[in-house]
Amino acid sequence: MTISLKRLFQSALFSSSLLALSAGAASASCGDIAGRVSVVGNEFPAIHTVTKAAATCANDKVTVKANLTADHQKINLPGMQGNPAEYTSAIIATSSITPLLNGNVVRPLDDLVAKFGQDIPKRQLITVNGKVVAVAFMANAQHLVYRDDVLKKIGMEPPKTYEQLLEAAEKIRAAGIMKNPVGGAYATGYNLGLEFINIYMALGGELFKDGTPTASVKNGQGVAALELMKKLTGYMNPDFLTHDSNATAAEWEAGNVALMNFWGSRTGVLMDKQGSTPEVYENTKVGAPMTIGGGKIPATTLWWDGWTVARNIPDADAAATFVAMKTGTSPAILNDATMGQAVWMIEGYKPAPVNQGVMLTMESGAKPYPMLPYMGLLHAAIGENVARYLSGKADAQTTLSDIEAAYTAAAKEKGFLK
């Protein structure tokens, strides 16, 4: 289960940032469209850039509204189930598109692509069973983040494998530079579940029995993944089970951590001048994700962010939404200010040093996060039970059986398993 404190806190204190966007006259690129555009999505700078650019299509025939909030996953499905749907477009990522596909609220885009989107590069089109369901505009992944100065002090190169990372961590601790040099988003629930999945897949583990919804994590790779996680947490702040991505970034900026596997989309925060001392931000470097035990697959998953169009809306609104979102993710949005906001999958993008980690991950043979209807249920079961293992409440075999059993009960309820 993903429970982000920041998210709950935000929703408790502030209502979601409901923006009514209006941007004067229509730009020529939007063409002849008329209708309602209403976007729901996560809230970070790159998505603001997209919705602002989409809003340039607004005129007296087209209205553009955006509701960007960290709680978008809780509202996008209900907001698209009505007829007509409240939201004509949802900005989603690899895993969050699954509930929308399961709920059958996403419009196949093939005819709209044929009519308005001939110039969208093929690789940006996300297809399921040959039908276009989303258009991707950025990529994200977790990869190595390290402190150059600390590694120089112990005379080591940036680690390429988790074994080297453990060796470096031991040396840093032994040299008395840092007590807990390893960081990571290991908060119980979603974050922890993803770390297990990263490592398990790098060890060659398969999450499901060949193509069926039956989970299979109780195997050698599962045990090895748990054991590696336990070793890593030995070099982490003892509070690791409460550290989500925000807390992990704070630990880094406080200078307490020298090595971690962390989100590319969040490294910008670590390298900017806010929130830390020059010693930390000047020495923060990114590298390729690490492999394990001589394996070829790095312990990370690839993610894309993209936009969809709702099924339950009039065709005119769908066309307006398609054109507005296409404008929002066109090469024209790239400039000096927006270039470093994300690893844009848009023509004309030049990676900034901060984005090098994600570029290296894409070249490293990493696997994409599985886009399966029942993946969310397994992810949740892993996140809950791995925490029990790491806090010493259950052994590896029990943990892996518990993951399978918890998933099976949930999947039966949802009708995925009989």
Partner: protein, 342 residues
């Protein structure tokens, strides 16, 4: 009051109770015995930025046919209640057969998610309810003994924990008990163990949550008791003093019996409140160490794939739990009421 007058008098509240209490309970009950349809899965090829791969998808056409046939969903009876993530009858029977002793049996049962949540919820309710009432009474007695001039400011300060939003109050404490926070560091120094972390230890986390529970709900008991203390008859107290009763004896034999109805009332409210403990677990990020029934429901609803039937079943079990817990107090009140009437 005439029956007809009473009926008209009661009608608005009756309607509200029906709409906002009875209907949701019926809806939750219904939801808990229905589950989504069996999903027809088919193999597809997905192509993303990172290449194509084999995957599966829900066959919407086939699933729609099932949905149209049974719009309510699939009737599953009590099977959600008895599955592994709830009452887990089959698993408990299995553990009973194989367990090597009572300790081992309970250890394995609390490894099951529902019983794990239940054990914390019950412990929390059993400790926080009496402790917060006791602290509330002590504060009320102390404030009542103060000179009038100081009472106002002291009451204000004592009420602060209740005024602060639970989420924020718990967050403040969360940062104070961090390994680098004021309380966390103080505890490390006291214990002489620099590696000690409240957030990493299950017993300490439980203790912390219970301390937070008492801290945040004692002011409520204090206000009610303080108001109650103003109604203690002065002449009874005076005659007790003339009879030579000490301060403790006056509290034990005059004040406490006088406050008994208030205590019953607050025990009822607090049991219900504490049984649905939720915010501190979120604020303390305590999910790894302590889960409550409410947190369990929140997890089911907060995941990427929402488990509505599971959340509904847990809600019904929570309601059942509250009924069981408050029934002794209710029965007692009922008898007391009967005595007065008779």
């Amino acid at each position: 009051m005439k029956h007809k007058t009473f009926l008209w008098f009661f009608l608005p509240s009756g309607m509200a109770m029906f709409l906002f209490i009875a209907m949701p309970i019926v809806s939750v009950l219904t939801q808990s015995v229905y589950a989504p349809h069996e999903q027809v899965i088919r193999e597809v090829e997905n192509c993303t930025l990172f290449g194509c791969s084999k995957a599966t998808q829900i066959d919407q056409e086939a699933t729609r046919a099932l949905r149209d046939a049974e719009p309510m969903g699939r009737f599953v009876g009590p099977s959600i209640y008895t599955d592994r993530n709830h009452l887990a009858f089959a698993e408990i029977a299995e553990i009973w057969r194989n367990a090597s002793g009572h300790g081992n049996f309970f250890g394995q049962v609390t490894n099951l998610p529902f019983y794990d949540a239940l054990s914390f919820t019950l412990t929390y309710t059993a400790l926080v309810t009496p402790l917060s009432l006791a602290f509330g009474l002590i504060i009320a007695l102390a404030v009542n003994a103060l000179p009038r001039l100081f009472r106002g400011p002291v009451i204000f300060v004592s009420l602060l924990p209740m005024i602060v939003t639970p989420l924020v109050g718990a967050l403040i404490l969360f940062w104070m008990i961090d390994a680098r926070g004021v309380l966390g560091a103080a505890l490390q120094a006291l214990a002489g163990d620099p590696g000690l972390s409240i957030k990493a230890s299950t017993p300490l986390m439980w203790t912390m949550l219970i301390v937070y529970g008492v801290w945040s709900s004692a002011p409520f008991a204090f206000v009610i008791y303080y108001a109650g203390l103003q109604t203690v008859p002065g002449d009874t107290l005076e005659s007790a003093m003339i009879d030579g009763a000490s301060r403790w004896e006056r509290i034990r034999y005059v004040i406490l019996p006088h406050l008994l109805p208030l205590t019953t009332f607050m025990a009822l409210i607090k049991i219900m409140d504490n049984f649905r403990v939720f915010e501190p677990i979120v604020s303390f990020s305590a999910g790894a160490h302590a889960k409550s029934l409410s947190y369990f429901i929140y997890s089911d609803l907060g995941g990427e794939t929402r488990l509505l039937s599971s959340a509904a079943a847990t809600s019904v079990l929570t309601i059942a739990g509250i009924i069981v817990l408050i029934s002794p107090v209710l029965v007692r009140t009922w008898h007391a009421f009967g005595r007065v009437r008779a």
